[in-house]
Symmetry: C2
DNA sequence: AAATATTTTTAGGCAAGTCTAAAATTTATT
DNA sequence: AATAAATTTTAGACTTGCCTAAAAATATTT
């Protein structure tokens, strides 16, 4: 099955708004996300419902069917793989790639996606730390968490920040922490919730504030 | 300026049919090429004319304006760069890439195109031996020619075939001639128009028939 | 519980791009 | 030069996706 760009964008939006296709999503939420009008959303929802991609009851919001979820995950896979390509191979910064990936995600060719995946050596996460589903639509169980939630002893790698101020980024940079940096949590201090972490060449103690603003994925 | 996918496809078709935008193109020729109906072409031509991308006189065919040509060349550049990417980086065969490039050529991002160009090390020709314009829309002077037209002494490389029968391709393969193979024309025989050519490891004589069916680019 | 505010749907309309069938124009043939 | 054939354009219709304005349903206040 092949769908229009617009249908794909709606399904992806609903997927994200519904927390992986679990809960119901309101018309207005979709409209806000896609920068369109509620009436347009209602129109589209009816078409999606006719195609059995969503379940819809008037005034009650929508949720994705299994096949709707499948389409959404396929688009997300493509979006994130292309983001990796742009950052890893074409040296884009991680905050420049979204709009381009928004277009590339609609290119249709299963072979292309699989070859790209292989070319990128089957990345498990995109440059923003979001997981990339495999070709069967399965996500790896690992999930991005805030560093302050990681137990002592765990090894993880940095995939994103919450506070993206220049100040914070400079601080991280100075201490050799960047996207993709491996970290081991050596110990956690109960008293002030500070943590001691070890990077490749360095061991340091970071404050709770810092740990609260770093996203990591546990290996 | 940004145009719809459809507009871009029309402009590209007209460019190719008009021999680089020189001659006039008939409605039917465009319809044939784009697998659409003549009436649809007339409709679109009017819109292109309103946008000053073509010059149109009823019943007299169209030709591209300078700005129409510019758009067409930009699309062709993208098409061919993506083809190189697919073959060189993702290991596609040269006969598999066209349809995918047909989609990728419409991705909008000047930065993406320039980075891709750089990543591919500024290729001058696509996998079919067609020249790739630079970012200012300029084509390198070299052009693909039939091997039988090449003078003795010249060094060229193989970029395509006219006869694509399995028989011919097997013959080439057996003699170590493939896409990209460097050839030196050692001598030409006036009597039967046969040629002696030298490849990397081998010198051989080929018939006029063979030379007539091989496209090369002179270095 | 009634009134008010918010959300969602309907009604009607518009642009892009395509189609079929019929009319107009150009080109080729007698 | 007249007729026939081919090409091109017009007329009218359809789909997709979007919009505004108004009506209907649901949610929140009083
Ligand atoms: Mn998109
Ligand atoms: Mn991302
Ligand atoms: Mn195309
Ligand atoms: Mn090509």
């Amino acid at each position: 099955m092949s769908f229009t760009r617009s249908v794909e964008n709606y399904l992806k939006a609903i997927y994200h708004l519904s927390d992986h296709g679990v809960s119901k999503v309101s018309t207005n939420a979709i409209a806000r996300r896609l920068k369109t009008k509620a009436s347009s959303v209602t129109d589209m929802i009816k078409k999606l419902s006719d195609k059995k991609l969503v379940v819809y009851k008037k005034y009650q919001g929508v949720h994705l069917t299994d096949s709707g979820k499948e389409v959404a995950v396929r688009i997300i896979r493509k979006h994130r793989l292309w983001e990796v390509f742009l950052v890893e191979k074409l040296n884009f910064a991680w905050d420049e790639v979204h709009d381009i990936a928004e277009q590339l995600e609609h290119i249709e060719s299963e072979k292309l996606v699989d070859r790209l995946d292989e070319f990128l050596e089957f990345p498990s996460h995109d440059p923003h730390g979001d997981p990339i589903p495999d070709k069967w639509g399965e996500f790896k169980p690992s999930k991005k968490v805030v560093l302050s939630d990681v137990d002592a002893g765990a090894i993880c790698f940095c995939v994103g920040v919450i506070d993206s101020s220049a100040k914070f980024l400079r601080y991280l940079d100075k201490n050799g922490i960047a996207l993709g940096t491996q970290l081991k949590v050596v110990s956690r201090e109960e008293f002030d919730k500070s943590m001691t972490i070890k990077t490749k060449g360095n061991t340091m103690t970071i404050s709770k504030l810092t740990a609260d603003n770093l996203y990591v994925i546990i290996n």
